[in-house]
Symmetry: C2
Subunit: 204 residues, 2 copies
DNA sequence: TAGATTGTTAATCGATTAACAATC
DNA sequence: TAGATTGTTAATCGATTAACAATC
């Protein structure tokens, strides 16, 4: 593992390389160029991204799919399960809850929070919806490190603070708002309206 | 409007500036530094982003909220409505369909497509689900320029090709797969698993 | 006028691309 | 050995930050 900082975009590409590798025959060998073509980047970019973490290929030959898959899985920390807390069980939250992809990729949702009294106590997918007030205790007790926020924009900041209090270190935020946070927290925003507005600009 | 290329990230920030401006009193004047603080960037960055498109401030004073709001709205092409086609009416697609934010921000979903015979013909939110086979005709007839893809990964490429055939020029893709596309198409990927896997790396 | 803040240029930083010696 | 492809260094490109003259 490198001491220096690896750019965020490089990590994102590792995740995409891994997705491509999963579709390939285990015993196959492929070159950086072939892998690059599969995902629409350059061979140099592939080698550069991998070089941050070590030497995984054979000069003159290429990379063994099985080995590369295993290495990237390890680099990304995907050789384990990360329990997830979901805050905000509205339409979008419910969609994520029943989406099998989360569990399949090792990020099972294990606790649900909402601040609507009408929802608290209800059971969804076998999980009881709990009051947002209890976030710090529950999250800390369950040793959850990742949160997904699907609350309305107004609630996102408070929920973030509570998740942090409970020991969460990474958050995926779907609420369309800027969240103030300490640098120790890794926050990724998934911003629907910003994406659409960017499209609008380019179509104009 | 500038002839040269404006970086994608700058456009994204304009969208975020606009969101902050919408919350402020119309007649207020604020400095680039104040705006920057609201969204967590630097004053220089704000001025640089705006400078791509013109001069909107008063030296020594700052920016009038009302005017800046209007200008950014115009720059992003948000002074109109963009009809949207939704392909894939599963859990995620349904969540987006009932999400009021899309209509409110000027991107109303107007046509639904799915390739599941059990769904075709059903009505959701007043819209009849149509066969994916009819995408080119329907999209072209309705003059739709933006598509949202919430199909399984396997269907995304075909649906993209059909949307392009119908005249769509911008796509927001939620399917976890690489989509091959001509450079005339503006494609934005919203990739849940890549986001989570990036979190995993940083928490490890 | 003095103080504040813009618009813009120059300096810095960081990521991507090109190129090639080393290696199988 | 000849051909292919890696790992890595140097060159290029592009975006961010710093700094300041112009302006209200």
């Amino acid at each position: 593992m490198p001491q220096f900082k690896v750019p965020d975009v490089a990590i994102q590409r590792l995740s995409i390389y891994l997705r491509a590798l999963r579709k390939l025959e285990e015993n196959r060998i492929l070159s950086s160029l072939k892998l690059a073509e599969l995902i629409g980047t350059s061979d140099g970019q592939v080698r550069k991204d991998l070089a941050y973490f070590g030497e995984f290929g054979i000069p003159g030959q290429g990379y063994q799919v099985k080995k590369l898959r295993r290495e990237i899985t390890r680099i990304l920390g995907l050789d384990r399960t990360w329990k997830v807390a979901l805050a905000g069980v509205g339409k979008l939250g419910s969609a994520l809850l029943v989406y099998p992809g989360l569990r399949e990729s090792g990020f099972p949702i294990r606790v649900l929070f909402d601040n609507d009294p009408a929802k608290i106590g209800k059971v969804r997918e076998g999980l009881r919806i709990q009051s947002s007030e209890t976030i710090p205790q529950v999250v800390s007790q369950e040793e959850i490190k990742i949160g997904i926020i699907t609350t309305p924009a107004e609630a996102a900041q408070k929920v973030t603070n509570q998740l942090i209090k409970g020991g969460v270190r990474g958050i995926l935020n779907f609420a369309p708002t800027i969240i103030v946070h300490p640098s120790e927290l890794k926050l990724k925003n998934v911003d629907l309206s910003t994406n659409l507005e960017t499209l609008s600009y380019f179509l104009k």
